[in-house]
Subunit: 191 residues, 2 copies
DNA sequence: GTCTATAGGAAGATAGAC
DNA sequence: GTCTATCTTCCTATAGAC
């Protein structure tokens, strides 16, 4: 991916974070990227192409984001907290990313063509969380853990739900993070 | 509310469930309600008015929905299950309601004017769930329960998150319900 | 209250010069 | 690759008759 393309896709993510996927207007997007609308159509075939590329770009950044936030030498319990809490931060770029991810999820309700991307990304995230949970449990108990997919699905789903409540003004970021921490503890306690 | 208005608002909910809040087109909405666009503007001032009324109507129906699903003589544990699982059903009208509610939540990220309605409805729902949880705990333990607001917030949030995953094709309705049941059990176990 | 017809404007997409 | 200018379509909202 060229520098220019990344610059344009960053603008797309900003506009989506401001107006939503359905609210993305090519004109506003082009202005945000400081290029003409014609150039947008030169890079991406049409409006759907813009969304497709923007959401794939988001996907790429999400993986990098998690790896960056979780150093390899962290103990499993701390790593679990980190990887789940990393999306729930008030910093502007994290917040933007979070809004855009929520929009991707919401769009897939009406746009089946997005579902496959979403399914694989979500699946990888769930598996990753389940792996770390297994490490936590086996480190603590010293015995093999049962299947943790369900617990990992609940926790990752809770992250998505909490992010929407936070972003829609229902609770503060501190409260949101506190609720998630409580859920992690509750899930681990029942294993 | 007159019969005619309810009929029109039902059409609005159907269209929102099909295309989303931002995807609602007055023309399609009018056609769905089998009236002219002019009549839409006669009943609701403008497009924003349509959304406002549709979402308030949704709100009204949600409360009725829960009361209907939870008979007064049900034991607290069963009532808790019912009131949380009631939105997660594949029946077409429930599914529609669920999509529209998700859209309301998602819209509030970009439309601050919707947040107050959303906040009060959510708050009432959380309080209701917390009350029933208290009954469950006090029936089982025989001693006063601690504050359960956090647990109720997590469970209701999980319902919202799970509904989005279900509706976006990530998991089946059976799996979704199973995950929620698991979470209810986990939350109760840690009290 | 309800309709038909349409004004007026926004937005997606393209043509063609540089 | 990048722009300006514009075409066309679609959509909100209104005018005015019944």
């Amino acid at each position: 991916m060229r520098e220019r393309e990344r610059h344009i896709l960053d603008a797309a993510v900003r506009v989506i974070a401001e107006d939503g996927v359905q609210g993305l207007r090519i004109g506003k997007f082009a202005a945000e990227a400081r290029v003409s609308t014609a150039l947008i159509y030169h890079y991406f075939e049409d409006r759907a192409g813009v969304l497709r590329h923007a959401l794939e770009y988001l996907d790429l950044r999400a993986a990098a984001h998690i790896e960056e936030a979780v150093p390899a030498d962290l103990c499993p319990r701390a790593a679990l907290d980190r990887m789940l809490l990393v999306e729930l931060q008030s910093a502007l770029d994290v917040r933007m990313h979070c809004i855009a991810w929520g929009e991707l999820r919401a769009s897939a309700v009406f746009a089946p063509e997005l579902r496959e991307t979403l399914r694989s990304t979500t699946g990888e995230w769930v598996d990753h969380v389940a792996d770390v949970m297994r490490e936590v449990v086996e480190t603590a108990h010293g015995s093999p853990a049962p299947d943790l997919t369900g617990a990992a699905e609940r926790l990752t789903t809770l992250v998505e739900g909490l992010s929407k409540r936070w972003l829609s003004g229902y609770c503060t970021i501190e409260r949101t993070r506190e609720l998630l921490s409580g859920a992690i503890t509750a899930e681990l306690a029942t294993i």
